[in-house]
């Protein structure tokens, strides 16, 4: 097949067009009345292409992509589960797609009911009192949740609490969110098995601590078994517990963050609740809180009156607003469709089957890859590279070789705890046959690394491109077609 390598700008031809609009019958060119000084001087250089040009171009681009629908996508910490098609159909319904966010509540009862009922469903699944669905993504949920934490202390006049404790194994987003929320990050050490060192935590808990931010299972996929003690220590010290919902999937059906003592959490709807990752977004990062924090949630809020009517309101005690309107509503629709499809019984199998899949891969591959921590993991686990590293084959090499065999690579070089981290998360939607194929291929790559290491180091060899020059890209950034043309000239 011929390889397609054009940019949309490069198939542009002057005078070609991809749109039709109704004729202007207002009889007056009002645009021409606007003072010239307020108008654009030089025209933008945009493509001029026909509708078919556009359709072929983007269809060709889609063929250069690998998604969950293409194949197994064991990207650790990202929960790349199947994205049900009915969810897409529902979200596109014009009865929702054509609703303006500022319509009178009486004309948007269906949308408001969905928002309200989804937040109720999440509350029940998380064991918390109430959720806001306004945050747009996981990191945005973290930021919002930390604002709740901060606002709680401020509202009680306790303004000294400006520190948030974050495990040293945490994803970089946690400390970055704390920084944006104006909180100072204090790292708590982890034990060699990746769980929080309670003895290291104790001396950190003074009256300047706003709370702790953690995930459970932790970054290594292991359950923090001392969670109840941690919760008690933090609460006794006057702090709050924040749960990073990036790892919520294995607990669905088993454990609720609220019952572990967490006061605040965010959920990634695009992880646990099956909404598509969209090549990097849109996601959705609802934030749930315990009863004593409900009034602090961001505006706008959706509530239900005594007659069962839904309305939009704000609260003076709220931390403020974090979104223009109600967040990524279309994403919420997909998550709600997923929850309704599974229902209260099937949803209980999500966590256990995700956990079963992860343990199955882990146990099947530990004869070839270095498993730093033994024992049952939850939805994901980490290998520290190949067991036999004598030929110099790295995790990066293995990851690239997997592409040749038709799999997406795991998350690599995270967590930072190990030099050759390879984080594998299969999710519950993958069948035993798919896992067996993956296990076979991983074994084959390990054999190649031992017998013919250059084959692995050269990989990938079957992909459209191979070994892109990332150093060159960062040194001389070319971020637009205009600068690409300039660089060529």
């Amino acid at each position: 097949m011929k390889e397609y390598d054009k940019l949309i700008f490069e198939i542009s031809r002057p005078g070609r067009k991809g749109y039709e609009l109704p004729a202007d019958n207002y009889g007056h060119d009002a645009l021409a009345d606007i003072p010239a000084g307020l108008m654009r001087g030089e025209a933008a250089e945009l493509p001029e292409v026909s509708e078919l040009d556009v359709v072929r171009h983007y269809t060709n681009l889609s063929n250069k992509n690998f998604g969950v629908d293409t194949g197994f996508y064991p990207l650790g910490s990202c929960t790349m589960k199947y994205n049900p098609k009915i969810n897409e159909e529902v979200a596109a319904m014009p009865e929702f797609a054509e609703i303006h966010p500022l319509q009178e509540a009486e004309t948007a009862q269906g949308a408001l009911e969905l928002y309200y009922n989804l937040q109720q469903a999440l509350s029940s699944l998380a064991g918390l009192e109430e959720f806001t669905l306004n945050p747009y993504a996981g990191a945005h949920g973290e930021l919002t949740g930390l604002m709740v934490m901060s606002q709680y202390h401020i509202s009680r006049g306790d303004t000294r609490r400006t520190k948030v404790i974050v495990p040293d194994t945490a994803h970089g987003t946690n400390p970055a969110s704390a920084m944006v929320a104006g909180l100072e990050v204090v790292e708590v050490k982890s034990k060699p098995n990746g769980s929080i060192d309670v003895e290291d935590l104790k001396p950190l808990l003074d009256d300047t601590v706003a709370g702790i931010m953690m995930t459970n299972p932790n970054t290594l996929g292991m359950f923090e078994v001392e969670i109840l003690e941690i919760a008690k220590l933090v609460h006794d010290a006057g702090g709050l517990l924040y749960y990073d919902g990036a790892n919520f999937n294995p607990l669905l059906g088993k454990v609720r963050p609220g019952d572990m003592g967490f006061d605040i959490m965010h959920i990634n709807l695009h992880k646990t609740f099956s909404t598509p990752h969209g090549g990097g977004g849109p996601g959705s990062g609802p934030v749930g809180v315990a009863k004593h924090l409900v009034d602090l949630l961001p505006n706008p809020r959706v509530k239900k009156d005594a007659e069962g009517k839904f309305y939009v309101t704000g609260d003076d005690r709220s931390l403020g607003s974090v979104s223009t309107f109600f967040g990524n509503f279309g994403v919420m629709m997909k998550a709600y469709a997923y929850i309704l499809t599974l229902g209260r019984n099937n949803i209980r199998n999500v966590g256990p089957m995700a956990t079963l899949n992860a343990n199955y891969i882990k146990e099947s591959l530990k004869d070839a890859y270095k498993l730093p921590i033994e024992g049952p993991c939850k939805h994901e686990f980490v290998f520290d590279g190949l067991l036999d590293k004598s030929n110099g084959v790295t995790t990066l090499n293995v990851a690239k070789r997997l592409l040749d065999y038709g799999f997406h690579a795991p998350t690599i070089y995270f967590p930072l705890l190990f030099h050759e981290s390879m984080m594998i998360e299969p999710t519950e939607t993958e069948s035993k046959e798919t896992l067996d194929e993956f296990i076979d291929v991983m074994h084959r790559v390990a054999r190649e690394a031992a017998e013919d290491p250059e084959v692995v180091k050269r990989a990938p060899v079957t992909t459209a491109i191979s070994h892109p020059d990332e150093t060159g890209a960062a040194k001389n950034p070319i971020l637009s077609y205009r600068s690409l043309k300039k660089a060529k000239a």
């Binding site: 990332e470 150093t471 960062a474 040194k475």
Partner: protein
């Protein structure tokens, strides 16, 4: 393996400094450039900026890492190495030849708190 030059003083954060008169020349060590890999960008201060010992004065970036630069001395920036604007990779080629800034120091005694070559070499070994 990375080299440590005898006639320089080093900070634990891997900057080197060489004092000539009251002018201190500052760069990053060979060990640091190795650890970072291909350097793609150096964020440098402006001439005239005040820097303080132990405080951030800039940053170096490679493709997948970034590291703040901490000034080993206090004083006023007298010059920055403009070669690095277009060729940041020069540091990879020779980290000691390609300095980052020159500072007119306000307290030469600060250098005494820094590591000598032997102590720094030992620090690198242990990292």
């Amino acid at each position: 393996m990375s080299t440590v030059k005898d006639d320089l003083r080093y900070a634990e954060s891997h900057e080197w400094v060489k004092l000539e008169g009251d002018i201190a020349t500052v760069g990053i060590s060979d060990y640091a450039q190795h650890a970072l890999g291909d350097i793609v960008y150096v964020d440098m201060p402006e001439v005239g900026d005040e820097v303080e010992a132990g405080e951030v004065f800039g940053a170096v970036e490679s493709v997948k890492a970034a590291s703040d630069l901490l000034s080993p001395v206090s004083g006023t920036v007298e010059a920055v190495n403009e070669i690095l604007e277009d060729a940041p990779e020069s540091i990879n080629a020779d980290a000691y030849e390609n300095w980052i800034m020159k500072v007119k120091v306000s307290d030469p005694a600060e250098l005494e708190a820094l590591l000598d070559a032997a102590a720094y070499a030992k620090l690198c070994e242990n990292e």
